[in-house]
Amino acid sequence: MEITNYVVLACILFAIGATTVLLRRNAIVVFMGVELMLNATNLAFVTFARIHGDLTGQVLAFFVMVVAAAEVVVGLAIIVTIFRTRRSASVDDVNLLHG
């Protein structure tokens, strides 16, 4: 099997994650879509690390994980704060920026 299949899988997962962000309204699920995208890139990193025999790709994947953790912490805190005031976790209800 070609190793590039991993990259194709990463592409598919990334696209699905992006679509999730576009289509779902629950803020938490939207966040999950973002996480899925990050995971897909991680898969690509790991696969490229394997192809090139260079561990740097894995290191970068590691960084992605840490940053994702930080992002999730803050993002979820924001969601909790919004939920407290609006009793809703739908991203469509947070549209104070509309023109």
Partner: protein, 643 residues
Amino acid sequence: MNDVIGYAPWLVGFPLIGAAVLLLGGRALDKWGHWIGVLASSASMILGLWLLFRMIGADPADRVVDHSLWTWLSAGGLDVNLALRLDPLSMTFVGLVTFVGWLIHLYSVEYMAHDPHRRRFFAYLNLFIAAMLVLVLADSYLVLFIGWEGVGLASYLLIGFWDHKRPNAVAAKKAFVMNRVGDMGLIVAMALLFAHTGALDYGTLLGSGASGTAAVDGLDQGTATAVGLALLLAACGKSAQFPLQAWLGDAMAGPTPVSALIHAATMVTAGVYLLVRSGPILDAAPTAQLVVVIVGSVTLIFGAIVGCAKDDIKKALAASTMSQIGYMMLAAGLGPVGYAFAIFHLITHGFFKAGLFLGAGSVMHGMNDEVNMRGFGALRHVMRLTAWSMFFGWLAILGIPPFSGFWSKDKIIEAAFVGEGWQPWVFGGAALIGAGITAFYMTRLMTMTFWGRPRWTEPEYHPHESPGLMVWPQVVLAVGSIALGGVLAFGDVFTTWLEPVVGTPGHHEPVLAVPVLMGATIGVVVLGAVIGYAMYRRDVPAEAPRGSVLTRAARRDLFQDTVNEGLVMKPGQGVTAVLVTADTGVIARGWATLAGGVAALGAWLRKAQTGYVRAYAASMAAGVLIIGVVIALVATLGQTAGA
């Protein structure tokens, strides 16, 4: 003279520093600040007189000295030095300004004693002295312009000194605006001069006594006339000459020392100074000279008529000032034959008119600031010194020999009769009649104020002699009124003295013999005085009678404000209204339409801002997709091209 020229800047420096200290010193100086003003004025006066005597003692050839301080501005072909020119003309003025100014400083100490803003008043006075000295000491029109505007500012500040009263503020504004009209003339004159000669300093333009080459000699007739008329406009504005005379009467709203100093003795004569200083230009433009003479004649009659009808003692004196300056303008317009006499009359007038004003102030001081002469009468018994000093001033302005006014005014009347054709008869006649009217209204003033029966009651008014600091300046000025003319006229001292600047008057024979003229003048004057005394000796009604058409017109300053309103203000307002309409209707609406269009565009674009995160995410994804497609295409094309 060159060895002491270095001190000249301090003439300006002392009062300027005094003004700065007083203005910046704040409340701390309220109690004794006026003495700083007096000190600065005294220093300037002592220095000025010293320099004047040094110049008198110097060789006549050395009497014109330029002292350059620094290069003020340098633009293209124009280099303006901030320089002072000391010559007999400017030193004459220095003497007048500093000495009379000093006297009035002293006088003001008492006169303003009860004013809470006395410190500010003295600051303004010092500022005025400094500005006036810059004006007369300037060695170029541009530097003169600084002083010109400076005295305008000081005049504005002092007329409106009691600006909590609306009429005073309006009067100050009026004076300021009309002065600006005159300033326009000066600016135009400077522009024309620079355009045609490339210089603005006296040395190049007018030629000094030594070099004698003057740039203005190269001017063609038309330009010279234009410059002359522009200068005349400037002079009219500053000196309250027809048709810009309306402000002077209202300017009496300022404190009386101000009226004495600025609006009688010094600032209002700046126009005469300007014309005399610009003599070579006027000489080159006979048409302009003729206009100057006409303006002077009209104003002297005009002011005299107005003076006859005024019941306000200060306004009567103001009208008189206007009239007397008309004499000076008349003289200045006559060319070299009259320049020296214009300045001569300016000096004597400075003394006796300042004295008269100070006397008027003294009377007001004793009469609870009452100015209506119909409420005066028989004050000579209670204010002896004031009455005597004003009496000598009265004699001087009437031109009774041997008092000061005689020597100067008589010469002007004589000069007005010099010439050919209709001109000597018209101008000379005007000057002669003016002298008679002057005698009438001045006698009226004296009679209503000091002679006759008292028209005031004791408990309500308590007239009394003013304190010493107010009286002694009057006495000094009265001495000047008595003797100055004679001293300066003795042996033509003064005309000789001014020769390096204004040239030699030469000898011209009037169309009538001089003794005839002298006799006619004295006759007319005596006649006017007798009529005035006879009319107002006995009963002066408390309410002014309706009077003749001329009287009513004169009370209203011969409709000068009405004319101004009709000729200038109304059209101006019309133009403004049209402009406002154009602004709101065309310009503003145009921009509003443009802004509305932008706003509409924004409102349309705003629809893209749905506020939905997912919509934004969609646009982001679309961007990523487009970039991806482009990269893929480029890569594919590159491969194809490479293959």
